[in-house]
């Protein structure tokens, strides 16, 4: 078991989501930074999609009531275990009774607490992610509260982590050439033009060229962007159609909305572009108030990023397996 001893609002249990039910109106949900979840779980030897805690409001504290191996991924800050700083992106042992504390990360938005064995929660419609809108899945279909107790799954490889920890090179470093950084600190997010891009004429260029700011009215459902409004040349009556996270819609006010993990399954606003799937985690890690620019991309580029990410995760899995086997042999 783990027990939540301090939490802010909207921290939830997540996994890689609940795809497959959009045709009955159920949002996929799932982690805002799925890459952090896949890496954290892979390093621990869990299934990539094992349930984890998504922490987006800090400080957050939990107590382990038995020995466990955990990793805090996604974050650029250092977690504290009984007050002692530990590396993030690194698997550590926790003893029964120890307290893990997460503070506001210096730059990024979300941290993930992954535990060997995963969180032992009954899946709903094939996933353990919390559907905040639907009020089901995750822990009792709601955000975490102080006093919540969550079971941990069994883990056979508990001893196979060295006392100093087992770290992974974080994605922004390991994949530095795949995820380019801007010189001015704005987050670069690649996107492809979507169905109504042509309706925006000159404002289409204004969409790509300007630096947007993530407004305070942003959450797991979507990010509202502030900037110079962009307007279509024509008002079109759209019929409701399926949408996915990453779709960039332009409501009548002209300030775009990017749908995120808890995206509605259907939409009808004109859509100017769609973020490539492999860049969604960068948005998921962008804080309210941060600046971002969209970079016009191609299917070929999206595919290259997707393959680079897949190779990186495979590498984490293989290396972590080898290290653990070696440690076991020495033990």
């Amino acid at each position: 078991m783990i027990e939540i001893i301090e939490t802010g609002p909207f921290n939830t249990v997540q996994d890689l989501g609940r795809p497959g039910y959009r045709d009955i109106g159920v949002s996929a949900s799932g982690a805002m930074d799925p890459l952090a979840v896949r890496i954290g779980n892979s390093l621990l030897g869990n299934d990539e999609g094992a349930a984890v805690l998504e922490i987006q409001t800090f400080p957050f504290c939990l107590r382990f009531d038995r020995r466990a191996v955990f990793i805090v991924s996604g974050s650029d800050g250092a977690p504290l275990l009984d007050g002692i700083e530990k590396l993030s992106w690194c698997a550590h042992h926790a003893e029964a009774g120890q307290v893990l504390e997460l503070r506001q990360p210096p730059k990024l938005a979300r941290a993930y607490v992954c535990i060997a064995g995963g969180l032992d929660i009954a899946p709903v419609m094939g996933s353990r992610s919390t559907s905040l809108r639907g009020g089901f899945g995750g822990h009792a279909g709601r955000p975490l509260q102080k006093g919540d107790r969550i079971a941990i799954g069994d883990d056979a490889s508990l001893l196979a982590v060295p006392p100093s920890g087992l770290a992974v090179v974080e994605p922004l470093v390991a994949l530095a050439d795949v995820f380019p950084q801007s010189t001015d600190g704005a987050v670069l997010v690649r996107a492809l033009p979507a169905g109504e891009h042509g309706l925006f004429a000159e404002d289409g260029a204004a969409f790509w060229n300007q630096t947007w700011r993530i407004s305070a009215r942003s959450d797991r459902t979507g990010y509202r962007l502030s900037g110079d409004p962009i307007m279509p040349t024509d008002v079109v009556e759209m019929r409701s159609h399926g949408v996915v996270p990453g779709v960039i819609q332009v409501p009548p006010g002209g300030e775009p909305i990017v749908q995120m993990s808890d995206a509605n399954t259907a939409g009808g606003y004109p859509k100017i572009a769609g973020v490539i799937e492999c860049d969604l985690w960068r948005l998921g890690q962008a804080r309210i108030g941060s600046r971002l620019r969209f970079v016009r991309s191609t299917h070929a580029q999206a595919r290259a990023v997707e393959q680079a990410v897949a190779r990186y995760i495979e590498d984490v899995k293989v290396t972590s397996g080898m290290v653990k086997r070696a440690l076991k042999a020495f033990a």
């Binding site: 045709d23 109106g25 169905g195 891009h197 399926g242 595919r303």
Partner: protein, 235 residues
């Protein structure tokens, strides 16, 4: 019917809607939206249902989301040749025959008027009908579930009497109750979640229509027939 390639724009970005030609565009790198040409009617929707059946046999698809005379196809990975995806979707659309899904009939008891019918007066003003006429036209209609979406189990119902068409609100109601019987443009439906909602409410239904723990979580399915039964009229 042939999807004529447009030589001037990159085809994998947007294929325009033609006379008899489906329009195809992408959302991100893995999802492709096909929009049927023609009217918002049952004939177009039946062809979307047929396309949806065909696409269920495509192994490289992760998810198929039929919408209102359109369909979003989500692929497992970013396709190597997006042009080929466009061609396959166009060919599948051209080959799609109209099918009629033999759905079930669902009767939904409705309490028309009363505290949840917050937009009934506005609909009377807009249509020039009395509240009794609005209610009569609504419950005498026979509706088809075109597609589900927007909220868990929410069915977009087609078949609304054109006299009851009412545009969505520009400023949504901040907290509309789950169960409100609503009109949005040419469609009607029953709100599945309490929350912001831009549709116009004329009544309330108690019927439980979504259960995440059931093997069949949504009561409605595309093709189902829906009738509203006035259980109580409070004016």
């Amino acid at each position: 019917m042939i999807a004529t390639p447009n030589k001037h724009v990159p085809r994998h970005q947007i294929v325009p809607l033609g006379q008899n030609r489906a329009r195809i565009s992408s959302i991100g790198a893995r999802s492709f939206l096909l929009e049927a040409p023609g009217d918002f009617d049952l004939a177009s929707q039946r062809r979307i249902w047929a396309l949806s059946q065909t696409l269920k046999g495509w192994a490289d698809l992760a998810e198929i989301i039929p919408g209102m005379t359109n369909l979003l196809a989500i692929f497992r990975e970013t396709p190597e040749e997006p042009e080929q995806i466009i061609d396959r979707l166009c060919a599948a659309w051209d080959a799609a025959q109209s099918i009629d899904l033999s759905g079930k009939t669902i009767e939904i008891p409705v309490h028309y008027g009363g505290e949840f019918a917050v937009d009934l007066a506005a609909l009377c003003d807009l249509s020039g009908l009395t509240d009794q006429e609005v209610i009569r036209l609504h419950h005498q209609g026979t509706y088809r579930v075109f597609a589900l979406g927007s909220a868990p189990g929410f069915g977009y119902l087609h078949g609304l009497d054109p006299r009851l068409y009412m545009p969505r609100k520009t400023v949504p109601s901040l907290k509309m109750e789950k169960g409100c019987v609503t009109i949005g443009g040419m469609q009607t439906g029953v709100a599945m979640l309490t929350g912001p909602n831009g549709w116009n409410s004329i009544g309330f239904a108690e019927l439980q229509m979504f259960d995440p723990l059931s093997p069949m979580p949504a009561m409605m399915a595309p093709g189902d027939t829906v009738r509203f039964v006035p259980e109580r009229i409070e004016l």
